[in-house]
């Protein structure tokens, strides 16, 4: 069995599963945010729910429109707060402790290797970087899990992506996943588990690994996964709030397809609107002027990302026509950036630094685009109107390119 099949088998209490099997799994963590939880809570109550199945396993993070952007979102966030109190939820993070859910939960040791995780947020697949099975669902599915603690799955076939060779300068996990999505398309992994491996993945930081698994959904993937290794265990140690299990691929594990990449051929990538698959190498981009640069999100808002951005921005000024907004993904990341002097570098360069929030990534608040404006962003989606006006544009890149473009006023490489 593949690592995905083994985790699902264990979650279902079975010795063996094969792709196509229908299974019922115990869920280790089920999460929702201020957009998806209000619907889930109302469905939970509509179904006659009184108590959630386990108050330690339901996680609520008001991160999308919080700190509350308007009266309506304040009321949505209040539904979460009231429910968390009423149910005595142990994992509820209000403003001040709140971070972007997919950066926060691994950081706090809430999600762990070997877990079965569902989340009413499509980027729940991020946690696969820990060697867990994690997938996005809707609010009704989440409500059903809040009641029962279980979820049904069809065991997905696995596509294996092997990254070999050596990384070129300024190439990060973001470039690898954008390159891959450009290759297989935005539905290239629909219903499949995507497993990432190879010597390059082994050398990548956990931060880069989270970035890669985060964007599995942008290829339609049901989950992204990287088997746990020493780096994973080092990351988890000291954070894990409960015991966990490490699973490995069997030697005779079966894959639907194996695709091998030679990383020496991959340069820094930018995805043009309106699809994440619309990739080009930055070196081939001519004169695309930008109005805004956004560095942050569940995809690229970790401390390693901020260090890269600071390395490019240090001692330089952002272009006078560009608004540059930086979003440390959690309070701990914000504090680390402060202690390391990164915040000072950003402010001296003319960047705005925000409290953690999903903010402009989904066109929520804190950096919305006007008609005809263009942003480069380290976020995950560049769909039509994603960051604001339907006639605005989003280009996706890694933090170094977003920082360099902020300085140049157009899409550029750091050098």
């Amino acid at each position: 069995m593949t690592i995905t099949e083994k985790i699902l088998a264990a979650g279902a209490g079975l010795k063996k599963v094969t792709p196509g099997d229908f299974i019922e799994c115990n869920v280790d963590i089920a999460l929702a945010n201020d957009v998806t939880a209000p619907l889930a809570i109302s469905e939970f109550k509509n179904a006659g729910g009184k108590k959630v199945f386990d108050r330690e396993k339901i996680v609520l993070v008001p991160d999308h429109f919080c700190p509350n952007k308007d009266i309506k979102s304040a009321e949505q966030a209040k539904i979460l707060r009231d429910f968390a109190k009423e149910q005595g939820l142990t994992h509820y993070y209000d403003v001040g402790r709140m971070g972007i859910e997919h950066a926060l939960l691994p950081e706090e040791g809430v999600v762990l290797p070997g877990d079965v995780i569902i989340g009413a947020d499509s980027h729940t697949c991020t946690y696969g970087a820990l060697g867990a099975f994690a997938t996005g669902v809707g609010s009704t599915d989440l409500a059903a899990c809040m009641l029962t603690g279980k979820a049904w799955f069809k065991v997905p076939p696995t596509l294996k992506f092997i990254f070999n060779g050596k990384l070129n300068k300024w190439v990060t996990g973001k470039d690898l996943i954008l390159y891959l999505i450009g290759d297989i398309g935005v539905d290239g992994a629909n219903y499949r588990a995507m497993e990432f491996s190879g010597e390059v993945i082994g050398k990548l930081s956990m931060s880069d690994r989270f970035t890669i698994c985060n964007m599995a959904i942008e290829a339609g993937g049901k989950a992204g996964i990287i088997p746990a290794d020493k780096k994973t265990l080092d990351y988890v140690e000291g954070r894990a709030e409960r015991p966990y299990e490490i699973y490995e691929n069997d030697k005779d594990a079966k894959y639907e397809k194996i695709i091998v990449y030679d990383c020496s051929k991959i340069e820094p990538v930018v995805a043009f609107p309106p699809l994440p698959s619309n990739r080009r190498f930055v070196k081939d981009v001519k004169d695309v002027k930008i109005d805004q640069s956004v560095i942050g999100s569940c995809t690229n808002g970790r401390i390693e990302d901020l260090r890269i951005a600071a390395q490019v921005l240090k001692g330089r000024k952002v272009h006078p026509d560009v608004r540059t907004i930086i979003f440390p993904a959690t309070q701990k990341i914000y504090l680390a950036a402060l202690k390391e002097g990164l915040i000072e570098i950003f402010i001296n360069s003319g960047c705005a630094v925000s409290t953690p929030t999903c903010g402009p990534c989904l066109g929520g608040h804190m950096g919305i685009l006007a008609k005809g404006e263009r942003a480069i962003a380290t976020t995950n989606r560049n769909f039509t109107g994603r960051m604001g006006h339907p006639e605005s544009e989003v280009y996706l890149s890694n933090p170094a390119v977003a920082a360099a473009s902020a300085i140049a006023g157009k899409i550029s490489l750091p050098e």
């Binding site: 499509s122 049901k222 929520g364 989606r381």
Partner: protein, 184 residues
């Protein structure tokens, strides 16, 4: 159940940001969401749609965000069914869960044009194009999925099943949740 309405045709990869932009996600009220349905892909959709109409699209309909507000807004706008060449995984589950019928048919997705009048039998998976005198087939809904649709969604379906409540836990008998076996 027989559904009848006129077609509104779109291309591949219609995503949930286009179906209901995040700027309207500060509410979960279906009627509010319906006012902005498809706004970023077709600003005239809400003006043109009539009760019973059918959305027809290409590959990977509903990709992107897991927001259940997307199928909710489509349903509340009066759409009776979506036909696409294929659906993104999360959208598929969400649509069924809220009682919005969706059908996969490559042939229908390719041949139907905006304005065509369609008649659909969910039980048989038959799509009749009354304008072009054509008919297309798709995989029929299995019984339990038809029941979820007819109950107006999963939660109502669970509530309507006798003895589905586990009184001790105040929850729902998980055996009744096998709807997911449709395979998404």
């Amino acid at each position: 159940m027989i559904l009848k309405g006129k077609a509104h045709k779109y291309g591949d990869n219609v995503n949930t940001d286009e179906i209901i932009p995040a700027r309207y996600l500060n509410t979960a009220d279906p009627d509010e969401l319906a006012k902005h349905c498809m706004e970023d892909i077709d600003g005239d959709f809400v003006k043109n749609v009539s009760a019973g109409d059918i959305i027809v699209a290409g590959k990977n309909f509903g990709c992107g965000s897991s927001r259940e507000h997307a199928p909710l807004s489509i349903k509340a706008a009066g759409v009776s069914c979506i036909i696409a060449e294929s659906f993104a995984r999360i959208f598929f589950r969400n649509a069924i869960n809220i009682g919005l019928p969706i059908l996969e048919s490559k042939e229908a997705a390719q041949k139907i044009k905006t304005g065509d009048v369609l008649e659909i039998s969910l039980k048989e998976g038959k799509i009749k194009n009354l304008t072009r005198h054509q008919s297309y087939s798709s995989k029929p809904f299995p019984d339990f999925l038809l029941k979820i649709i007819n109950s107006d969604g999963l939660i109502n379906y669970i509530k309507n099943i006798p003895n589905s409540r586990d009184k001790k836990k105040g929850g729902v008998n998980v055996k009744k949740l096998q709807y997911c076996c449709y395979g998404r």
